[in-house]
């Protein structure tokens, strides 16, 4: 066990955990940030996606010891007022069904738009294809990313 000081959503937070603890469980069990979801635990579904220094990262396989001074952004910190263009588009298109995978979908899309603010439908599909939505809301996820990109 060791104390890790993490830069999460613009704040310095600390957790006393083992070095191999995935960032996902540090966020959820130790820092009370449960918006980041546990889905598969093996980086296959994307529910746990957060940003580490701006890159979409599967937090379920990312050990806390690797975080260092990197800036971690979770769904709770994506925007101050919950009004990121993607969050607004998700509401406008009414994307969610059960909603469980959506934080990971939004974080994956947010990293894409940061890098490529005007992606084509193909680019959206290539990036989002790694995020599973068991309810099958894929059409609306794609449309919402497109809508958000038109407002950036």
């Amino acid at each position: 066990m060791a104390i890790y000081k993490l830069q999460v959503n613009g704040k310095t937070l600390q957790a006393d955990v083992e070095a191999d603890t995935p960032l996902l469980w540090v966020l959820r069990d130790h820092l009370g940030l449960v918006g980041t979801k546990y889905g598969c635990g093996i980086a296959q579904c994307g529910s746990c996606t957060v940003h580490v220094n701006g890159s979409a990262t599967r937090s379920c396989v990312y050990p806390v010891s690797a975080v260092g001074t990197s800036q971690v952004i979770t769904i709770e910190g994506l925007s101050e007022k919950g009004d990121h263009p993607l969050q607004q588009a998700w509401d406008e298109i009414d994307v969610a069904q059960c909603g469980y995978c959506q934080a990971g979908q939004i974080m994956t899309a947010a990293a894409l738009l940061k890098q490529n603010p005007k992606p084509s439908m193909d680019e959206i599909e290539v990036t989002m294809n790694g995020n599973i939505c068991r309810c099958g809301a894929y059409h609306r996820i794609r449309d919402a990313v497109k809508l958000a990109s038109s407002k950036i």
Binding site: R28, G35, Q97, I132, G136
Partner: protein, 714 residues
């Protein structure tokens, strides 16, 4: 549609004002005998012994609050229920607030399953809204000393038409609570609906997109511990002995305990528990046969010919019909086990205290969870509370409450509040599953291509009845025999979204296509001819509505341009399940020698649509679910153990694999008949029939991806 509805007097309670003022109208949600509202007082609420179980309240600031009793798993009942109330109430939708109700003894049907919530509650919800509106209008008329017939309600205001005077629902709420509850109220004509049938967004969108703690796995209680269970990895094995000493010595681990076939690791965080669980040393011993998919494949063939079949339906004389047939067509179809695999893994919180039990978590059947915990721990039900959380998907998996009873049993052993978490691997390998089934269809045609005989034998593993013997084409064939054989297995199965029909519909609709082809008839016309025959001279019991089925078939043919497209191969399918009708057409093209599903058209008759986008989401999700599992998903077994245990080996459909989907709804004014499941069953058949047209090859086994048409590149 009836526009008058009667309130049962004996259920009314006359009340005094409530805290903070306003109107609180209670009603018997799902009460069989009376969908009757009551006005509720503080004292009555506190006493807790009155005959209501939910309420609609209007506060003096105009906020309308309605409880939503059903578990929410993405069917969006938390939005569509209040829409129905607000419609009749003439409430300003922006002022409507929805609260998730916890388990309450007085709910009769507080569950999510069977596509039944809206059909069950439709009249009650409308009645509740209309009753409150009536009382608000009466209250305003009294204030102004005018006849209530001169007053109208709209947008959370009552207006006196002659003078233009206006009072808000908030201003009227207190006075309305002193108006007697009417014995009858008039419901709106559907042509005047302002909300129902329109697109209204999910009321929980904001919480979802900002990562608020909504789900069971997000629940946290100060002082709670985390636990995971190691269950036998092979169905048929039982626990013999275990050594948890290494696990127990690991950091953060509080205890290792055993009950039934389970070894549970309890600790201070999920990760510590996950790591320690891998260090358990467990010996299992054989209790039942360890079955493999290979065994099941042989068993299916054997039982198909030699099994002791249970007759499900028999009309006429099939033997003679087949003896005299000009042509006999046979087709067999088989599906594997599949996992429900909702995104949120199974989990539940339990705190067993000396004075009672507290349960919190995601379940489709909260009342059943409580009953099972009551029986297990010998604690009376009234000492058990259950708080519902949003469900990260269900698909039938959370109809079963094994995770809730495990959590309760564990809490009673370790005497601490505990959150039990299943890993994705636990969920995929420990059951329950959609049962594996095999079907044999046989059809007899006369010289003119008329269907004179029809036989279906279903063989299933822990399937219950694997047939739906009264579905189409039963009723349209003079000589028909449907029977089934079930094999009992240690591999646990359960209801999976659209139970049985999720595969049976594919098999049946693919076979009908084969028969139509053999008869030299267009597949759509062939179905319409059968329905016309069923209408004219019905055979035996017919439990589907022939006109509604004809309606979706004709509309799907029209919307999809059936028979008019040159550049795509089209496949047709139609199915009646639960109480709704859905017809689908799939457009398939060939790309690099492989079939690709380009588009699926869906026409649904689910009666009145409540939320248009909610309904469309159910249909699109059902199609993606039906296509994805038909194409890609299977669980196979070796010596009782599942070969696939997570998304790296168990394939789910992804974004790039979904076709365009076009949804249409029949607008016929029938009361709602449900939509959570009915759009799923037809998809596999429409796709397989289109692939046949494109390739000349029949798909008979799921997942399709393992069939030859997807392997050979020509």
């Amino acid at each position: 549609m009836t526009n008058k509805t009667t309130n049962s007097r004996r259920d009314f309670l006359k009340m005094t004002a409530i805290t903070g003022g306003g109107l609180v109208l209670g009603f018997n949600w799902f009460s069989a005998e009376a969908n009757a509202p009551v006005v509720i007082s503080n004292s009555a609420m506190a006493a807790g012994n009155i005959g209501f179980n939910s309420y609609l309240s209007i506060a003096t600031d105009g906020t309308v609050t309605i409880m939503s009793p059903n578990p929410e798993l993405g069917q969006n009942i938390i939005t569509s229920f209040p829409m129905v109330v607000a419609e009749e109430l003439e409430a300003d939708w922006k002022k409507v607030k929805v609260l998730q109700a916890n388990l309450d003894n007085k709910f009769d049907r507080q569950l999510t399953g069977g596509s039944g919530a809206v059909p069950h509650s439709w009249k009650l919800l409308r009645n509740a809204g209309a009753t409150a509106k009536f009382m608000l209008i009466e209250a305003a008329a009294k204030v102004w000393s005018v006849p209530s017939s001169e007053c109208t309600a709209a947008n959370s205001f009552v207006t006196h038409s002659k003078t233009g005077k206006k009072l808000s629902y908030g201003e009227l709420a207190e006075a309305a609570s002193r108006i007697p509850v009417p014995s009858t109220v008039k419901l709106k004509d559907r042509k005047d609906f302002k909300l129902i049938g329109k697109s209204v967004r999910n009321v929980e969108n904001r919480k979802i997109v900002t990562g608020q703690p909504l789900f069971g796995l997000d629940f946290y209680r100060e002082g709670m511990v985390y636990a995971m269970i190691q269950r036998p990895e092979q169905f048929g094995m039982k626990l013999k002995s275990f050594d948890g000493s290494i696990a127990k010595s690991m950091p953060g681990i509080i205890d290792v305990v055993s009950f039934k076939n389970n070894v549970a690791v309890v600790g201070k965080s999920t990760w510590q528990v996950l790591k320690a669980r891998k260090m358990l040393k467990i010996e299992y011993e054989k209790e039942f046969d360890l079955e493999s998919t290979e065994d099941h494949d042989k068993l299916f063939l054997n039982l198909m010919d030699n099994g002791q079949a249970t007759v499900r339906r028999k009309d006429g004389d099939v033997d003679t019909a087949f003896k005299n047939a000009a042509k006999v067509i046979k087709g067999e179809y088989q599906c594997p086990f599949i996992s429900h695999s909702p995104m949120e893994p199974m989990n539940f919180f339990a705190h067993v205290r000396p004075d009672g039990v507290e349960l919190v978590g995601p379940t489709q059947t909260p009342a059943r969870a409580r009953a099972e915990v009551s029986q297990l721990l010998k604690v009376p039900e009234d000492k058990i509370t259950l708080q519902l959380t949003r469900l990260g998907g269900g698909f039938g998996r959370r109809l079963k409450n094994d995770f809730a009873t495990e959590a309760a049993e564990l809490s009673s052993i370790i005497k601490a509040p505990v959150k039990l978490i299943w890993s994705k691997e636990d969920d995929m390998t420990a059951g329950t599953y959609r049962p594996a089934c095999r079907y044999r269809f046989e059809a007899a045609l006369d010289a003119s291509g008329n269907l004179t005989g029809y036989k279906l034998r279903g063989v299933g593993i822990n399937s219950g009845n694997p047939t739906r013997e009264h579905n189409f084409p039963s009723g349209a064939v003079d000589n028909l025999l449907i029977d089934s054989v079930e094999h009992k297995s240690p591999i646990t199965t359960g209801a999976w979204r659209a139970p049985i029909t999720n595969f049976l519909a594919f098999a049946e609709q693919a076979f009908i296509d084969e028969v139509a082809q053999a008869a030299g008839k267009d597949p759509v016309q062939f179905r319409l001819d059968l329905l016309a025959k069923a209408k004219k001279s019905p055979v035996g019991d017919i439990r589907y509505d022939i006109s509604r089925m004809e309606g979706v078939i004709k509309m799907a043919a029209e919307k999809s341009g059936w028979g008019k497209k040159k550049d795509v191969s089209q496949g047709f399918s139609v199915y009646f399940s639960h109480a709704s009708y859905v017809a689908q057409v799939a457009d398939v093209i060939m790309r690099n020698g492989l079939p690709v599903v380009k588009k699926i058209y869906a026409v649904s008759d689910c009666g009145q649509v409540v939320s248009m986008n909610g309904a469309s989401h159910q249909v699109m999700g059902g199609i993606v679910d039906g296509l994805g599992h038909a194409m890609y998903s299977k669980l196979s077994f070796r010596d009782g153990a599942a070969d696939q245990n997570n998304y790296n080996t168990y394939r789910l459909i992804k974004m790039k694999e979904v076709p365009e989907i076009e949804t249409h709804f029949v607008d016929n004014g029938i009361d709602p008949t449900g939509l959570g499941e009915p759009a799923l069953p037809p998809t596999g058949g429409a796709v397989a029939n289109a692939i046949f047209k494109a390739t000349g090859k029949r798909l008979r086994n799921q997942p399709f991806i393992e069939e030859d048409v997807f392997k050979t590149v020509s």
